[in-house]
Symmetry: D2
Subunit: 366 residues, 4 copies
C-alpha cells in the first residue's frame, strides 16, 4: 500500500503522518521523489482501511494498493517515479537511472595481477568508462579452474580505484567476504548463480552499499524482482538490475540468449535502474558491439562490457572480451547511439583524450 | 565446394568452366556478385579434386570447401558477399540486404475486410512503408478461432496492391493455395509453425517468388538455415530470414523472447537478408517501438510491424498491433535510428506526406 | 457444452433430443460410452440456455459447460469416460485406451528396402508387437539427407502388412500423399514438425483413418490438445497422442527431454489414448529400455520403439534403434512391468515363439 | 588419471604405491570397492607418464586417463564400480546405491511445529520410510513468505529423530548455520537454488556429513556433476544426486518437467547414488504416485516424497504434498514396483505395521 502526499506538504506534516501510521508489523518507507513524496507501507496491510488513512491528513492525496508481489521494487511503490541510484566514486558521483546519463562499466572477468588491472583501468578511463569491473572471487563451473586471486585481487582493485578514480564493481560469493569487499567496492555484485541465494541477499541488503543484481540464468522476471525485493526489504534501496543473457535451447553460436526486451518490460514493472551485459549474454566478442548499441537503442541505463588487455591469454572468459582499443572504438559508437535516442552522455575523461591516436599511443605505452 | 573466379574473366570462360564441371549428381550455381563471380557446387563433391578443378582454367582463383551443413545458404557459398533480394512492387523495385536501405513491412495480422485493408494500406504508405502484410489464411491454435477470409482476402489484397502500389506479403499454409497466393503476393511468407514443413518448403522453393521464412518458435539457428536451404536447393535464391521471437521459460510479460542477437550471428553464417518482427516477438504493442529501434541498432535489413486501424477490435493479435498513427510516429524514430547506424532509408512517399498533421488529417478521413 | 443422458434412455429418445437441439452453427456429437451416453454440443453455445435444454426431455440427466478450450478432446466432453481407438489390423482388432491392453509399435525410422522391412516385421511380430512403424516419407533437417523411398516404401509396407498381419503406422508429410498412405496405413502419423500444420490436420481429420499425433518439440500440452481438436473437429474421433521428447536447454546426453509426466496430466485433461516414444525422446538406444519401463509404470497405453536389423548401418536414427533381439528382451521386461501395474498384455504371437532361443534362431535365419 | 590395482594386492603394497606417487600439486584417493582397488590421481597429471607409473609395481593392472571434466564424480574414477553412500541413522545404517535397497525419504516441506513433525515422523516410519525430510530454513521466492522456524525447527527435528529413529535430511542455505544443522541432520541437503553456490559447496564438502545435492532448475547434467565435484574435491565422497524437475517452456499443468531420463544417463557418467523427487518435479500431489513408480521402474536408488498431515493447511508446498495415508498406499505400490524391477526393499517397520487398517488406526490417533 502506498500513500501519495500532496505537493508542497511540509516535512513536519509528513513526519506526523508517519507517526500516525506506526503499528507493530508495519514498516513505512518515505520516498522523496523530484515531483512527489510517497509513503510506502509494507507488512500487515490487510487491517488498514484506506479511508481511515485518507482521513489522517488533508495532505494525503491518494491511498493505493500495490498488486505486484514485489512491493518495494514495483513502480507503483513510488507512484510511477523512477528511482536513481547514486554511487560516490573518487572521480565523481555517478547516477544510474532512467533520466541519468548512460553509465559505462568495463573491465576484465577476473583481476589477474596488479599491473594488469592498473593498465586496464587507465585505458578504460581514457575511453570514458566510469566503473571498473573485475572479479576477485570467481564462480567457476569446475573446482579445478582458476578461482580468483581473492584478497590480493581486492588490494589491486583498491589501488586501481585510488590511481584512476574509477568506481569499483566486484562480485561477492560468500557472506564471509562481504566486509572485505565492501571496503573496496563502490557497487557490490551478486552474480547470476547466487540470484536466489536468499541468505546472501539479506546480508548484502543489510550492508547498505549499492548492489548490482544479475539475473539468474533461467530466472523469470518476476523471480528476479522478488530477489531485488529481498535486498530492498533488508533496508537497502540502491539496487541495479543487470540482464546478462538467459539459457535457452540453442547454445551453438551464443553462450546465452540476450533478453533485450526486459528493458521495456522492467520499465513498466519497476522503478529500479537497468544495466545490460552483452558480453556474458553472447559469449563472443564479435557480437558485443551490435548488442551494446541495441541495448542503448532499447533504453538501457547502463552497460557492462568485458575488456581484457590480451583476450587470448585471459584466465577466464577471453572469447567474450574486447581489447581496450575495441572498447574505445565502441564507446565512440555508443556515444552516437546515446545521442540518437536522447540519452545524455558524460565521459569522465573527455578533456584528457580526444581521439583514437592519443588512445593508441597510451595503449602502446601501457 | 565453391570456385572463386578471377575478376575480369569473360562470360564465355565462365560458361566453359561450368561445362567442364558438368557431372551427374552435381549441380553448379553461378553467383554474379558486385565484386566477384563464384561458382557453387552442390552434390557428390567428395570425388572432386580441388587441384584438378584449379587446373581447368587460369581464371580460377581459388577452390574452397564449405564446412557448414547449409551449403547454399552459407556466407562461404558466395565467398563472403551478401546477397540482395530484389522484389518488384508496383511502386518500385525494393532490395533487401545488408547494403540496401531499411525495408519496412507493416499491416494487420489478418485481412478483415476490403475497406479495412485499403484504408490501412494507404495509411502505411503515407507513413513510408514499402510492403503491406496481411493474412488471408491464418494459422490459429484453435479450430474454432477465425481462420482468415481466404480467397476473398487475397482479392482485397490485390486491390490494395493496385491502389497503393505497395508490395504484398502474405502467408501460405497449404501448397494447394500456393498458385492463388503467388498471383497476389510479391513475397510469400512461410510461417513459424511451418518452418519445418519440408514438403511446403520444396514447393515454395520451386515457385520462384521471393520467400519470407519465419523462424520456428524453438528452432535453432542451424535448423532455420537448413530450412532456408530447402528453398534454395529447390532453385529459389530469394529467401529472407525473419526472427519473430523464440519460446523460453518466461511467458508472463512477453509472448516470446526476442532473439535479437541472431543479427550478428546470421551475418557471420549466411549471405541472406534479415528481417525482424518485434510485434510477434513481444506480443504487446507498448514494447514494439523500443524493440524495433534495437533491431535497427543491431543491423537488421528489414522490419515487420503489425498495424491495425483499431487494435481493440482486431480479429487476431490486437494486443500487439500499433495504430497507424503510432506506426507513423515510430517510423520517424526509426528514420533517426537508421541514420545513426549508417543505414540508408528510402521512403516511397516522402513527397506526399511530410508531417504528422498531414498524416492525422489523412487518418481522420480514412 | 455437454448433455448427459440418463442410463436406459431409448435410442429413439436420444434421436429426438438431437433433433430438438438442431440449429445452424451448432454441431451435436453423440458418444456412446460403456456406462453413459453423452451428447456434445460445439459451436454457438452462448445462446443456449441449460435450463431449456434440461426441459427438452426427462431423460436429460445433466447439462454441463466445457471450460477447456479443447472441447471435443477434453475428458469433460465424454463426462469422464476414456475413449478407445480401435484399429483393424489383418491379425486382429487392436484397441488403444486406458482400459485396453498395452499396444506395442515397433520398427525402423525409415523403410530401407523390401527385404529389410519384411525381415524386421517378422521379427517384431515374433517378439509380440502389434504394429509396424516405418517411414516412407522422412522429414529430414537437411535437404541433402535421405528423404525416404516414398511410393516404393509404401508398397513394401503393404507387403509387410500382408505377410505378417501387423498393422502399419507411417507418417504423412504432404496432403498430396494422403490417399496413397491411407491405402496402406492402419494408423496415419502426423509428425512433431507438422503438429501445427493446421491444413494437414484438417485433411487428415477428414480422411477418417485413425491418427497418431506426435507432440511438437516445444508444444505445450494445451497446444497439442488443440491440434488434436483440429482433427476431432474435422469429424475424426480416432486420435492417439504420442509424446516423443521435448526440447530443453540440455542436449549433451539425450536428444530431447522425455516428458513422462504428460501421462498423468493427459489423464486429467483428455479422454484420448496415450502413446510414448522413448526412442526419439532419448536418441540413444541404451536409454530406451529403462524409459520404456518407466512409461508403462506411469500408465501409458502404448509404446513406440525404434528397431532396426542393423542400427550401425541405418540410413537414419541408427543410434536410437534397438536390434530385434534387444527388442525381444525388452518385451519380456515390459510384460513383467505391465503385470506389475495391472495393465493387461496381449501378444499376437505367444503361441508361435515362446523363448529367446527360438527367437534367436529365427533372427539368425532372417 | 586412475591406477587400477590387481586383485589380492596387499595393503602394504598399496601404501607403497601411494607413497611413490606423492608429489606436490597431486592428490591421491584410494577407493576400496568390492571387487577392486582404484587409486585416483587429481591435480597436475599432465607431467605423469603412464608407463612410469605402470613400472612402480607389478601390482598395477592398468593406468587410465579420465576424460570427463568431473574427475572424482566420474564412473571411470572408480573404474566402473558404483559407490555406496552409507548413512548411520538411529534405527540402522542405510545404504544408498545402485545395488542397495530402495531408500525412501518423506516429510513435509517445512517443519511447522514440534507436534506436527513428530506425528508425521511416526506415520512415515509406520509406512516404511527410513528418512524424514523437513525444512528448518526455507528458500522462498518472496521475502514476505514464511522463511522456516530455523533453530527451533532443528530442535524439533532432533526430537523426531530421537523418538522415531528415522534419519534426518534438512537443507542448509547459509554456511553460518552449517554446524547447527550438522548436529541434527544425517544428510545435509543443498537445494536447487544453491547448486552453484560454490562457497557453500566447498564448506559442505569440508564438513564430512553425507550431502544430498539437488539439481539446479536449469542446470545441465554436466554442471550438476561439476557441482558434486566441488564437494568431492573438498574431501567428502558421500554425495547423493537428486533430480527435482527442470524448468521448461510449459508450466501450465506441472511446476517443472520431471527429467526422469537422468537415471540412465547418470548411470553411464557417475558412480554416485541417485534420488528422485516427484513432488517438486510435478508440483501436484495427484501426479506423484505415477511418477514415483516410473522413477523406480527407471532404476532410481531413492525417492523423496513430500507428505504433510494436512496439505490444505501447509505453510508451503501444500498442493504437492500427499497425506500420510496416501503415502502409505503409495508405499505398497512402490514395493510391488521395486520387486518387479529386481530392486530390493527394506522397511524399517515391517514387523510393526502390516496393513492399512493398523495404519489408519494409528493415523486416527495421531
Amino acid at each position: 500500500m502506498i500513500i501519495v502526499i500532496k505537493p508542497g506538504t511540509s516535512p513536519q506534516e509528513i513526519d506526523r503522518i508517519n507517526q500516525e501510521l506506526s503499528r507493530p508489523n508495519l514498516k513505512t518507507e518515505t520516498s522523496l521523489g523530484k515531483h512527489k513524496v510517497v509513503i510506502g507501507l509494507v507488512g500487515d496491510t490487510n487491517e488498514l482501511n484506506p479511508e481511515q488513512i485518507q482521513a489522517i491528513s488533508p495532505c494525503v492525496e491518494n491511498v493505493l494498493q500495490i498488486k505486484q508481489p514485489f512491493k518495494r521494487a514495483s513502480l507503483e511503490f513510488r507512484h510511477g517515479e523512477y528511482s536513481e541510484v547514486v554511487v560516490s566514486t573518487p572521480n565523481s558521483e555517478v547516477a544510474f537511472g532512467k533520466n541519468a546519463p548512460l553509465v559505462n562499466v568495463a573491465g576484465p572477468c577476473s583481476v589477474e595481477s596488479e599491473q594488469m588491472i592498473l593498465d586496464t583501468a587507465f585505458q578504460l578511463k581514457a575511453a570514458g568508462a566510469q566503473f571498473l569491473r573485475g572479479g576477485a572471487y570467481k564462480p567457476r563451473t569446475s573446482p579445478y579452474d582458476f578461482q580468483g586471486h581473492a584478497e590480493l585481487a581486492l588490494e589491486w582493485l583498491a589501488t586501481a580505484r585510488q590511481e584512476t578514480g574509477l568506481g569499483i564493481i566486484t562480485e561477492v560469493m560468500d557472506a564471509a567476504e562481504l566486509n572485505a569487499i565492501a571496503e573496496v567496492a563502490d557497487v557490490i555484485q551478486v552474480g547470476a548463480r547466487n540470484m536466489q541465494n536468499f541468505s546472501l541477499l539479506k546480508k548484502v541488503g543489510a550492508k547498505g552499499k549499492p548492489v548490482l543484481l544479475k539475473r539468474g540464468m533461467s530466472a523469470t522476471i518476476q523471480e528476479w524482482l522478488m530477489a531485488a525485493e529481498y535486498i530492498l526489504a533488508a533496508g537497502n534501496p540502491n539496487v541495479i538490475l543487470c540482464e546478462r543473457g538467459i539459457r535457452t535451447f540453442d547454445k551453438q553460436y551464443t553462450r546465452n540468449t540476450f533478453d533485450i526486451s526486459v528493458i521495456p518490460v522492467l520499465r513498466e514493472l519497476t522503478h529500479l535502474p537497468i544495466m545490460l551485459d552483452p558480453s556474458h549474454a553472447t559469449g563472443k566478442s564479435q557480437y558485443v558491439a551490435s548488442m551494446a548499441l541495441a541495448a542503448i537503442a532499447a533504453g538501457t541505463d547502463s552497460l557492462m562490457i568485458e575488456v581484457h588487455p590480451n583476450p587470448a591469454k585471459a584466465l577466464s572468459d577471453g572469447p567474450q572480451s574486447l581489447t581496450p582499443e575495441q572498447f574505445y572504438l565502441l564507446m565512440e559508437e555508443m556515444k552516437v547511439m546515446a545521442m540518437a535516442v536522447g540519452r545524455s552522455w558524460k565521459s569522465a575523461s573527455e578533456s584528457m583524450f580526444c581521439n583514437l591516436s592519443h588512445y593508441q599511443q597510451y595503449a602502446a605505452i601501457a
